[in-house]
């Protein structure tokens, strides 16, 4: 029973990391930038969700509002900040570093602005369904209706994203712009626009990750939540071990990392859980530097 518990907890947390990793991958594919502000954006979107849920009362309306807010904010960051930065740092070592440093600065900026608007205290998004575990054969699991809901929702969102990328013209434009921007432009794709759209999708995915990370914990969050640091670290590492270029890799990386952290927490030592993702990252980089999904195949999804 403990094994089942560990696996279910791991997959639930992992599905949230997968969403976060998807956000990293979408931004990387659009602009070739690691967006360290991703967790800050997810946090900001969670505040949007909090505002919506306190005013409207419905979690299932608040979630899309948080997604929309996250998408718009992310798109604005791309248009206002990234486009200018990439244009003005076009060569030399600065070009490689400047956008990444800018995202780190943005992370700090978002946190300060949040602290100014909402203060530093804990706020709360109540879970939409019970977080009391299911009872199986008289034993109470940690796995709850809430966790089941999180799992189902993330997988539905991932399925929708896959359909968007594989079955629609918009998805074809997004993929073509990511793989070969020049050929995409020559085919008539407005690459600048698809780039912004990639960021917007990342913002929406990050928003869901932020809200779910909050309700999957105790429902409380603040600018200094350890949950958001874990989300940043795990999402980023999941994206890297998934090959950074692949949506499928991001999903696998996230689930894998969720499972590893869950096993470390329950079978080893609770104090190690923050180190576990880094150990996984190092091991993957040693054994398969191109990521779990190899270089060539990794660029499919």
């Amino acid at each position: 029973m403990q094994l089942l518990n560990t696996i279910l907890i791991g997959i639930t947390a992992g599905s949230i990391y997968s969403l976060m990793a998807i956000a990293f991958v979408l931004v990387w594919r659009s602009t070739r930038v690691i967006n360290f502000a991703q967790a800050g954006m997810a946090l900001l979107s969670t505040y949007f969700g909090y505002e919506a849920v306190t005013r409207i009362g419905s979690f299932w309306l608040a979630l899309p509002i948080a997604m929309l807010g996250g998408a718009i904010f992310s798109a604005l960051v791309e248009v206002i900040l990234m486009r200018v930065l990439v244009k003005h740092s076009s060569s030399g070592p600065i070009a490689a570093v400047a956008p990444i440093i800018a995202t780190l600065g943005l992370l700090g900026l978002i946190r300060s602005v949040i602290a100014m608007i909402w203060g530093g205290q804990d706020l709360r998004i109540p879970p939409p369904v019970s977080n009391n575990g299911f009872t199986v054969n008289g034993e109470v699991l940690v796995f709850s209706p809430l966790k089941l809901l999180i799992l189902i929702t993330t997988f539905i969102l991932m399925a929708l994203l896959t359909i968007l990328f594989q079955r629609t013209n918009l998805g074809l434009s997004l993929r073509a712009s990511a793989y070969a921007p020049e050929i995409a432009r020559l085919s008539g794709v407005r690459v600048d626009l698809t780039r912004t759209l990639g960021w917007a999708l990342a913002g929406a995915a990050g928003a869901v990750a932020g809200v779910f990370q909050t309700v999957n914990g105790n429902g409380n969050f603040s600018p200094d939540s350890i949950e958001f640091s874990l989300l940043l670290v795990s999402g980023f590492i999941a994206a890297v071990i998934g090959g950074l270029d692949s949506l499928l890799g991001a999903v696998i990386g996230g689930l894998f990392l969720g499972l590893v952290i869950s096993f470390v927490l329950i079978y080893l030592n609770g104090g190690l859980f923050f180190i576990a993702p880094f150990v996984v990252l190092l091991l993957v980089l040693f054994i398969r530097p191109q990521g779990i999904i190899g270089a060539k195949a990794g660029r499919r999804a």
Partner: protein, 236 residues
């Protein structure tokens, strides 16, 4: 004269790739642009399609100035550029590469019709629609690149070295296809080629570039017969 280039200059940093170049290509003509490495052939093509910025000069197409237009806009005006080196996206399937060519039309029915047309021109592609483009041979990739371009129903086709790296027999096929397409689809074609003889044989018009300038323009056959051109570019 549908395509008019006048006093065009293109710089790459401090290097001048095109130096006050002027040329005119009439509707329906297949113009071969030949010249040695670094003569400015590719720069010229990229300036016409909007990939390179011009520092000076004019380019007009059907009487309308197109200088400064972006490639994604020019496709919508009927100008399609097949860039150098088998310009296909290896990660996408053959079908997706072709669909990409028609993506700006947003018209599903028209896309399906054009796809059927392109497949009838290149049956080999039809057999491989579901395969990834990186599984194709060099010749097939070049067919796919041209096919993708045709999907946009172009009026002006800019081809950059379609023969590059292909076996002689395949080169001949590709050249013949380009000739046939020009006539049957009433295209205007600018064909940039290292393979000067192959290109001039199928072309109506020959343009010789050197150091970013036009040094000779004539009927393609006349250039083939010109001893100076033969010595410099055709190697006999």
């Amino acid at each position: 004269m549908t395509l008019n280039v006048s006093h065009l200059s293109v710089h790459h940093g401090a290097i001048q790739a095109i130096n006050s170049l002027s040329l005119a290509i009439p509707t329906g003509a297949l113009a071969a642009v030949i010249g040695s490495n670094g003569a400015g052939k590719t720069s010229l093509l990229r300036a016409i399609s909007g990939l390179n910025k011009a520092s000076h000069g004019k380019i007009s197409w059907m009487g309308e100035s197109i200088l400064g237009d972006k490639p994604e806009i020019l496709v919508r005006k009927g100008i399609s550029h097949v860039s150098e080196g088998k310009s296909v996206i290896p990660e996408l399937t053959v079908k997706e590469n072709l669909e990409l060519g028609a993506i700006w039309r947003r018209d599903k029915k028209e896309m399906i019709e054009t796809l059927a047309l392109v497949v009838s021109i290149f049956p080999r592609l039809g057999e491989r629609l579901a395969q990834r483009a990186d599984t194709l041979s060099g010749g097939e990739r070049q067919m796919l690149a041209i096919g993708r371009s045709l999907m946009s129903k172009p009026k002006l086709l800019l081809l950059d070295e379609p023969s590059l790296g292909l076996a002689p027999l395949v080169v001949e096929q590709i050249f013949q296809t380009i000739r046939d397409l020009t006539t049957s689809m009433r295209l205007t074609v600018v064909l940039v080629e290292q393979n000067a003889m192959g290109a001039l044989r199928i072309a109506d018009l020959g343009i010789v570039l050197n150091l970013g300038k036009v040094v000779a323009v004539d009927h393609a056959q006349a250039l083939i017969d010109d001893p100076a051109v033969r010595a410099a570019y055709l190697g006999y």
